[in-house]
Point group: C2
């Protein structure tokens, strides 16, 4: 939990008592490679924070083709936000790409914690703002950039991803064919 | 300002004193059709809330082609969040598509208000969560949907947009050519 405290204190300072209260709202879970966190159809009740490992959130279309919304690695928050926020069945899944160690908070505990503690509302608001900026850039990139430019942007932003994630999945994230990706990254 | 109070109270209840304090942080601005709110290169210092009218946020690529990130109509919050959050020069612009009436809050006032008032932190956190869900769906749609499916989704979500916004701009939002759009919406 020390890592979590460090992560939160990058945004708001905490006393020992405050962090004790915060950590009582979290649980810990370990998953093996290929195990899932979210399955399509679930009403997603947890937001996850990756302590160690790597996960992907993805959508399968009617032809069974995989489209990757995002990856999650150390210090990243991940869930299906549509299902988590709206309390509707998830249209996507989240799987572990490596053995993965996670903390999680349930919807109810997150509501309790944010309504009782302004600092935690502020922390997640800040995370959400950064997420907004990243998604805004992803949308612009999908609208305007060539496959090559999207690839270069991803490489610049997340160099370690290319060591950890199969090329097939990078292609499914960029929205390009595996053949196109092979030309870009031989 | 009564509209703003109603809008905020959809998320958090306010006393008269609280709303008085909130409204003292906002300014009011009127723009004519074709005037801009944000120009590329600005460090964007205001977040806007549309009282009446319609705006677009867009990016011009090296060939001068326009890509639309989003539209903003009554009750929508809009700015360039990358520039506003990171305090960097904007890579996009925001123009008015109609005569538009807006409230705005500066970065400094928004920071003051959210740090002093948990309710307002909560309000914007909720708006930000809804924005996350909308952007998540837009990314999935750009990755997996055909032009026809993207068009139908937009029509379902924002029917009034099609009465207010030229087809050329709808095409620039969907990431399809004007010819493709004409086939979908004769």
């Amino acid at each position: 939990m020390d890592f979590l405290r460090k992560h939160i204190e990058e945004v708001v300072e905490l006393t020992d008592d405050e962090f004790g209260f915060i950590q009582s709202h979290f649980g810990h879970i370990q998953k093996r490679k290929h195990q899932y966190l979210v399955q399509e159809g679930d009403i997603v009740d947890k937001e996850y924070w990756v302590v160690k490992g790597c996960v992907k959130s993805y959508f399968l279309d009617d032809d069974g083709k995989e489209h990757i919304l995002r990856f999650g690695m150390e210090n990243w928050w991940i869930t299906d936000y549509e299902s988590f926020v709206k309390r509707t069945p998830s249209r996507m899944s989240i799987d572990c790409l490596e053995d993965t160690d996670l903390l999680y908070i349930t919807y109810e505990n997150r509501e309790k914690l944010t309504s009782q503690m302004h600092k935690m509302e502020r922390f997640w608001a800040k995370k959400s703002k950064n997420g907004t900026v990243a998604m805004q850039n992803r949308i612009l990139s999908l609208l305007k950039n060539s496959a090559k430019e999207r690839y270069d942007l991803l490489l610049e932003e997340y160099p370690s991803l290319f060591q950890r994630v199969p090329k097939k999945l990078i292609a499914a994230y960029l929205g390009v064919s595996r053949e196109t990706l092979s030309r870009l990254h031989p």
